[in-house]
């Protein structure tokens, strides 16, 4: 299958610091990709470049074969939706208002069913009429997730490619909603969307992803299936910890438990 999103030798510099160093990646529809790595590895920066929000100093990003810079914001919004790490709203928009914002300028009768289905899917129907300013962090995160899913669905109904980019989407969610969100993301991927998400928690990444890209100091350390990437050697090389990556059975995703840590030599830089 041909790639929908390609990063060709992108570099991002901030002052004299290299945030991303000649990154080459390509993604095909249906992939569930986790970006992992230590703090400051460039995960969020890479996501912002892929979203078209940050222009790389060198290299280019192609969406469906065309350079990202040639897309208007409106056309880009029909192709990809982005969930940022933290969104603060000071005005009392209701949850339903916020989720509807994802629908863009399409007619309400076409999108209202999508809005309602998404609210239901995310367990938000009871909160729909509440002001988002009164909700807890996790509830707010779910509301924004719903907004992004509505944008994805509405973009696809216009023939967009369906790319979902998320920066630590499971932040401030409880365990049940974390797993629920991963389930929804996996479902979107099997329906043909490309889902790329930044994760801090390697276990959540491993449950979610069909492919994990490990970043370290702005470079790709390794890239592959969870059982190829979440390994003892990667943990030592990238995170600087001596820990065993385990598997429950041969066919399930690998997991890491801090309890198995033998000795901490140095913590991430």
């Amino acid at each position: 299958m041909s790639p929908v999103l390609e990063a060709e030798s992108i570099s991002v510099l901030l002052g004299s610091k290299t945030l991303l160093d000649h990154i080459n990646l390509s993604f095909t529809p249906g992939e569930a990709v986790a970006l992992v790595g230590p703090n400051g590895a460039g995960k969020s920066t890479l996501l912002r470049v892929l979203a078209g929000e940050l222009k790389p100093r060198f290299g280019c990003v192609r969406l469906d074969g065309q350079e990202l810079v040639s897309y208007s914001p409106q056309r880009l919004a029909e192709h990809r939706a982005v969930l940022s790490q933290q969104v603060n709203i000071v005005f009392p928009f209701t949850v339903a208002d916020v989720v509807r914002m994802g629908a863009g300028q399409q007619r309400a009768e076409k999108t209202e069913a999508v809005v309602e289905a998404t609210l239901t899917e995310l367990d938000l129907l009871d909160l729909a009429g509440h002001a988002i300013t009164t909700l807890s962090g996790g509830e707010r995160q779910r509301a924004h997730f719903a907004r992004v899913l509505v944008q994805l669905a509405c973009g696809q109904s216009l023939g967009g490619l369906g790319i979902l980019l998320l920066d630590e989407p499971t932040n401030s969610l409880d365990l049940r909603h974390q797993l629920g969100m991963l389930e929804i993301l996996r479902r979107r991927a099997t329906q043909g969307a490309l889902v790329i998400a930044v994760f801090h928690d390697l276990n959540l990444a491993s449950v979610f992803a069909t492919r994990i890209v490990v970043l370290d100091h702005g470079r790709i350390d390794c890239d592959g299936r969870p059982d190829e990437t979440i390994t003892d050697r990667m943990l030592k090389r990238v995170f600087g910890i001596e820990m065993a990556a385990s598997k429950a059975t041969a066919s399930t995703a690998p997991f890491v438990l801090p309890q198995t840590m033998t000795a901490a030599k140095r913590f991430s830089t």
């Binding site: 409106q74 969104v87 000071v90 009392p92 928009f93 916020v98 729909a128």
Partner: protein, 362 residues
């Protein structure tokens, strides 16, 4: 890939809550109230015109009977311009406040409070002093020059404020308020300097207008700011969705398809046009831009498509009432309208500030 185009197969069973439903009703109610308030305001004053005579005077050509002729004169040269200008200035200020609050993503932005009006005032004062000399005649006789000068003053201040307070797409409320204070002080110092340079007649023009008053309402001034108000009202229908999305943050607005830089530039021009036009005819009248949008958000919700026209309407009503109070409460003397709006607005602003005192807000 096959299911890509049909991710959802659900139809709406029950409609979701939509607070915006009552917006149109609120709008109609406010327009009605504005008209009634306008009629009442026209009939009261130093020379009372009872409603019965009011309509006779309004619709006669001014010929039949001395009483009607006198009423006609008072209405058309004093009351009507005053009512119209109070409403227009109120509309401009409230809409400018609502747009600024969306642009700066917080409910404490107001052209009077963060130095935009002061910047407009400086430019207008400069026009009075220097333009006067250059044109060899009183600038007050050139009513179109003042709004234009005030617009550029407001534009410079708003743009500077935005550059200072916004960093990487996020706006700091604390920096915005403090920078606004500094810019306002700077503009105030500039205006003070101009007062020194001004001759007596120019000084009268400057002081009159620094006090903040609707008392100088004349038809030429009304015609001078009318295009600004018309432009503002027309633009509100285009910027509503963009402002809603901008409230989530600049990155989010971009992710959702807004050309953020273009929108921001346009909003800054709108704010400057509205605040500049208002300041050029009435001086600095504070707090209208804070009180009105906040109250309306409680009633019709924060969605800007309705909030902006509703703010204009409610601001018109508020300033009309305030001006009527200002000119009748101590008749035949007149209170400066700035006192009336400050007495209502300043405690309200403090209340908002206290309500915002959470770590999230600042």
């Amino acid at each position: 890939m096959t299911a890509r185009n049909a991710p959802f197969e659900v139809t709406a069973r029950h409609s979701l809550p939509r607070r915006g439903m009552s917006s149109s009703a609120v709008m109609v109610l406010m327009v009605g109230t504005l008209i009634i308030a306008g009629v009442i305001s026209m009939s009261i004053g130093a020379a009372g015109i009872p409603p019965g005579r009011l309509f006779a005077a309004l619709f006669s050509a001014g010929g039949d009977g001395t009483l009607t002729a006198r009423d006609h004169l008072i209405l058309f040269s004093i009351r009507l311009p005053r009512v119209a200008m109070a409403s227009m200035v109120g509309a401009l200020l409230a809409a400018a406040g609502a747009i600024m609050q969306g642009l700066f993503r917080n409910p404490l932005a107001d052209p009077g409070l963060v130095g935009v009006s002061a910047g407009a005032g400086l430019a207008a004062a400069a026009m009075i002093v220097f333009g006067d000399r250059a044109l060899q005649s009183s600038v007050m006789g050139w009513p179109f020059l003042l709004p234009v000068a005030a617009f550029f003053g407001a534009l410079a201040t708003t743009a500077a404020l935005y550059r200072i307070a916004t960093w990487q797409g996020r706006t700091s409320i604390a920096i915005m308020l403090l920078a606004g204070l500094a810019l306002g002080a700077l503009a105030g110092a500039g205006t003070g300097l101009l007062v020194f340079l001004a001759d007596d007649r120019q000084l009268r023009d400057i002081t009159f207008w620094m006090l903040g008053s609707i008392a100088g309402a004349t038809w030429p001034k009304i015609f001078a700011i009318a295009p600004f108000l018309a432009g503002l009202l027309l633009s509100t229908s285009f910027v509503g969705r963009g402002l809603d999305l901008l409230v989530l943050g600049e990155s989010e607005a971009f992710h959702m398809g807004i050309a953020v830089e273009r929108l921001k530039r346009f909003l800054i021009v709108l704010v400057a046009a509205a605040a500049g036009a208002a300041v050029s005819v009435s001086g600095v009248v504070g707090f209208v831009g804070i009180v009105v949008p906040h109250l309306l958000r409680l009633v019709i919700g924060p969605s800007h498509a309705w909030l902006l026209p509703a703010s204009a309407c409610c601001g018109a009503l508020l300033l009309l009432v305030a001006d009527t109070v200002a000119r009748t409460i101590a008749a035949p003397a007149e209170l400066p309208i700035g006192i009336v709006t400050a007495v209502v607005g300043a405690p309200f602003f403090l209340f908002l500030l206290l309500k915002q005192r959470s770590p999230l807000a600042l």
